[in-house]
């Protein structure tokens, strides 16, 4: 937890100053998660503000400060998902559609063999975003929460309110699809 439970309790009781402190403590983390989930830098602040707006108006429904973080993650996932549904401009191409250069960059990054500058960083991000185009929005978010945000299955269970086994199955299938796209791109690069 980035803040004391007492601060959450005070924010729940309508203390604006306490709420402000909570936002200040979590905004960077939320901005980062939103940025990776929606993959569009220009709208990150807007979606992050929406997360905290929803938090402000639903904080009284939080049953205990101990579950604040999963609650905030749930709001973040929902806001990102709503945004992605509204703005269906996400690139739907697969890894196999990437340029040779992008595939090589992804391959090098995967092997940890590259010192990356800003443009290379962008290419790694583009390559992964394209790879994740192999799965649905919902699965993409789930996969990112697990593989990139580093949340455990237990934490995901709290966020999604779904049994761990069901999450495992869904994650496995999503990962298999991404892996297949990755292997196809590699194959193409080796043959080409």
């Amino acid at each position: 937890m980035l803040v004391e439970f007492e601060l959450i309790r005070r924010a729940q009781q309508g203390d604006s100053e306490a709420f402000n402190k909570v936002v200040l403590a979590y905004r960077k983390r939320v901005l980062g998660t939103v940025g990776r989930l929606i993959a569009r830098t220009e709208d990150v602040e807007d979606v992050a503000q929406e997360v905290f707006l929803r938090l402000y108006f639903s904080l009284d429904q939080l049953r205990a400060p101990e579950v604040f973080e999963p609650w905030l993650y749930r709001l973040t996932v929902n806001a990102a998902y709503d945004y992605l549904r509204k703005h269906r401009r996400r690139p739907e191409y697969r890894m196999s559609d990437l340029t040779e250069q992008q595939v090589m960059m992804a391959d090098a990054a995967a092997g940890g063999r590259v010192e990356r500058d800003a443009s290379q960083q962008r290419k790694v991000r583009e390559a992964v975003d394209s790879l994740l185009g192999a799965v649905s929005e919902a699965d993409r978010i789930l996969l990112l929460m697990k593989e990139v945000e580093g949340l455990s299955l237990r934490e995901l269970e709290k966020i999604y309110r779904v049994k761990e086994n069901a999450l495992k199955v869904r994650l496995f299938r999503a990962r298999q699809r991404v892996l297949k796209a990755f292997e196809a791109a590699e194959q193409k690069r080796q043959n080409g």
């Binding site: 983390r29 707006l53 995967a110 580093g150 892996l179 292997e183």
Partner: protein, 113 residues
């Protein structure tokens, strides 16, 4: 590309690299003021909706009271006769009326048809 296990590891590395390349950004200077503006605007919207609902409820209650009062008010109704329909009919066309019960006049001098 060797096997599926190797691909798995490479994908893990790629996702790790992705995490490293996408650090949490610093929020802009307008983040907090923007957030509070949105909160206040939503609060105003909620408040005006609340006011509208209250106004509607008050108007509906006033209308209900008015209709209730209108229905309950005693009105001057036309006098209602205790007679039944048949009694009233008999009263109107009584057998005692002269046209019905007067003596039948027969003129014997009148030629028969």
């Amino acid at each position: 590309m060797q096997g599926s296990g190797s691909s798995d590891e490479e994908l893990d590395s790629l996702l790790r690299a992705y995490r490293e390349e996408s650090p949490d950004p610093e929020p802009g200077a307008g983040f907090m003021p923007g957030l509070w503006r949105r909160i206040e605007s939503r609060q105003r919207a909620v408040l005006s909706f609340d006011r509208m609902v209250r106004g509607f409820v008050t108007a509906a209650a006033a209308l209900a009271i008015a209709i209730g009062a209108y229905v309950a008010l005693p009105r001057t109704a036309p006098p209602v006769s205790g007679e039944s329909y048949l009694e009233a009919l008999a009263e109107a066309n009584t057998l005692d009326t002269p046209e019905n019960v007067g003596p039948v006049r027969l003129d014997l001098n009148e030629p028969s048809r």
